[in-house]
């Protein structure tokens, strides 16, 4: 990692480290706080001033995982929905993005704008039409139904994102592959796709994230069978009381997969996003 200048003087360095520490605290505190709360008893949670030193308990996690309102089925639900949505988005989106980036065909500009526009649809306006449509085809409270609806938002986003990666593949490389009598499909599969691996990774992560965190449609279009974690967490906020500690434990478990995914793929995400931006700007 290069720097844009000489290293700072010691005093300045300390100030900068302090700032970095503050920023770190601001960004990390909800997760840290949630983690702490999830190990507290309900009584400790309500204590004021807040207790920092307390006897930790695993009871909340036990209740949330094995108790009557176990969120394990919900985690499973979320996993199925998010995975299916991501897989289908990639299967449909990658070819489409390649076509939009590289190939010539009639009405290309219009198609491009259409894809972009569908991403602009306000979810608010679509809740009722989707509910009615799914009900007619018996798709309410089914994985297929919710996944298809998720596709509506993730597909245009994925295409739009992937197009810029495809555009960054050197034209010469593609032309060389074609000259090689490779045939278009083979050229695409063996030569071009490996070049956009980073882009595909980034897209996968974001699409999975969006599907996992989705709330509004999950509530309206789901039911007993399809009940993602974002909805299930409200089980701990009943009309009678909020079970803070259990809610925190539930939230931690619900967010753990995506947090881990984000941490693990953090390098990828950043690399992928910047490559698309810088190269794209500098060249043309």
């Amino acid at each position: 990692m290069t720097t844009t200048g000489a290293l700072p003087r010691p005093g300045r360095a300390i100030a900068l480290y302090a700032l970095a520490g503050a920023v770190l605290a601001v960004w990390a505190f909800p997760v840290v706080w949630g983690l702490l709360t999830s190990f507290k008893t309900e009584r400790d949670v309500l204590a004021y001033p807040p207790v920092w030193i307390f006897t930790p308990t695993l009871a909340n996690y036990r209740d949330v995982l094995f108790g009557p309102s176990s969120i394990v089925p919900n985690l499973f639900s979320s996993l199925v929905v998010a995975s299916l949505a991501t897989a289908l988005t990639l299967v449909f989106g990658i070819p489409a993005a390649y076509a939009m980036a590289r190939l010539r065909f009639p009405a290309k500009k219009t198609t491009g704008f259409y894809v972009l526009a569908t991403q602009m649809l306000p979810p608010v306006g679509l809740i009722i039409p989707y509910y009615l449509a799914l009900q007619k085809v018996g798709g309410l409270d089914t994985y297929a139904g919710l996944v298809v609806i998720d596709l509506t938002f993730s597909l245009p986003f994925a295409i739009w994102l992937l197009v810029s990666y495809f555009e960054d593949v050197p034209v010469e490389m593609e032309e060389a592959a074609l000259l090689d009598r490779a045939g278009r499909v083979r050229a695409l599969w063996h030569v071009i796709l490996p070049q956009v691996k980073g882009g595909i990774a980034v897209t996968t992560i974001f699409v999975f994230l969006n599907a996992w965190n989705e709330f509004m449609f999950a509530v309206v279009l789901g039911g007993n069978r399809v009940r993602p974690v974002t909805v299930a967490m409200f089980n701990f906020i009943s009309v009678e009381q909020t079970q803070w500690a259990r809610l925190a434990a539930g939230a931690m478990l619900a967010m753990a997969p995506v947090i881990l995914l984000g941490l693990f793929a953090q390098r990828h995400i950043v690399k992928g996003l910047t490559v698309g931006a810088v190269k794209g700007g500098g060249r043309r």
Binding site: G5, A20, R104, V148, L273
Partner: protein
Amino acid sequence: MRAGTLEQQERSFALALLVPALAVLVLTTTAPLVYLGWNSLHRIDLGMPWLSGFAGADNFAKMGSDPRFWNSLLLTAIYTATTVVLQVAVGLALALLVLQIPKGQGLLRVAAILPIVLAPVVVGLFWRTLVLAPDVGLVDMVTRALGLGSHNWLGDPQLALISVIAIHTWQWTPFAFLVLLATLATLPPDVYEAARLDRAGAWQRFLHLTLPLIRPAVVMVVILRTMTALSAFAAIFAATGGGPGSATEILNLYAYRTSFSELNLGYGASLAVVLLAITMAISYAMFRLRRARR
């Protein structure tokens, strides 16, 4: 090969690749859009079913004289503009500063992921209950310790807007930070050496060298963040529900409340149509902006 056949080949290949995705999109977006448009042309009020019927452009005409509509437009503009500008400014400033301390970067980049991956509905809920609650919330504890007193962060109309802007900015600034940090890190150092030899000041270096070089990244961040801000819903919904009153009721939320709380489906649909038109106009402008920069 003759040019004609190559072109045809390319065209049919392109179609084969595109058709599945387009089919899904057309299927899932056309019918709902038609339904939405249809509803917006009708009077459909579940609370007063005897009034239902065709209304033509009445719903849209009503919007013009609806103060709550204009309020929501204004709020949407303020919310979007403020959060995007803040995210880019803060993200960029942080990135520039952190560049100078390579050791701190790794940890900060890991922490930056955390706000981004949390579900917006969880973020809104969390801020409402633990951070912004008067008296026991974190922010209030800090302001009271600093002698600034206790405030109703989500209950006071002005503070509520500031609060939801703060929540959104908190969640998405790390995104701008990460992208810009990585972009800045790829800039060639020799250009800066040359500028330093030329006795150019830090601010001048920034303005004339750095900015132009990172412009594409900034533009990309602005576009992505604007789209997120325009469709922001879950976090505000969980934090304030659009209130107090209509203080945080961006157009998105106004359409939702009209349809689902006031049960005026026709008017709610027309609001959604207007929102769609606005987002499309903005995205078209952004589309052109990106093309021009490239």
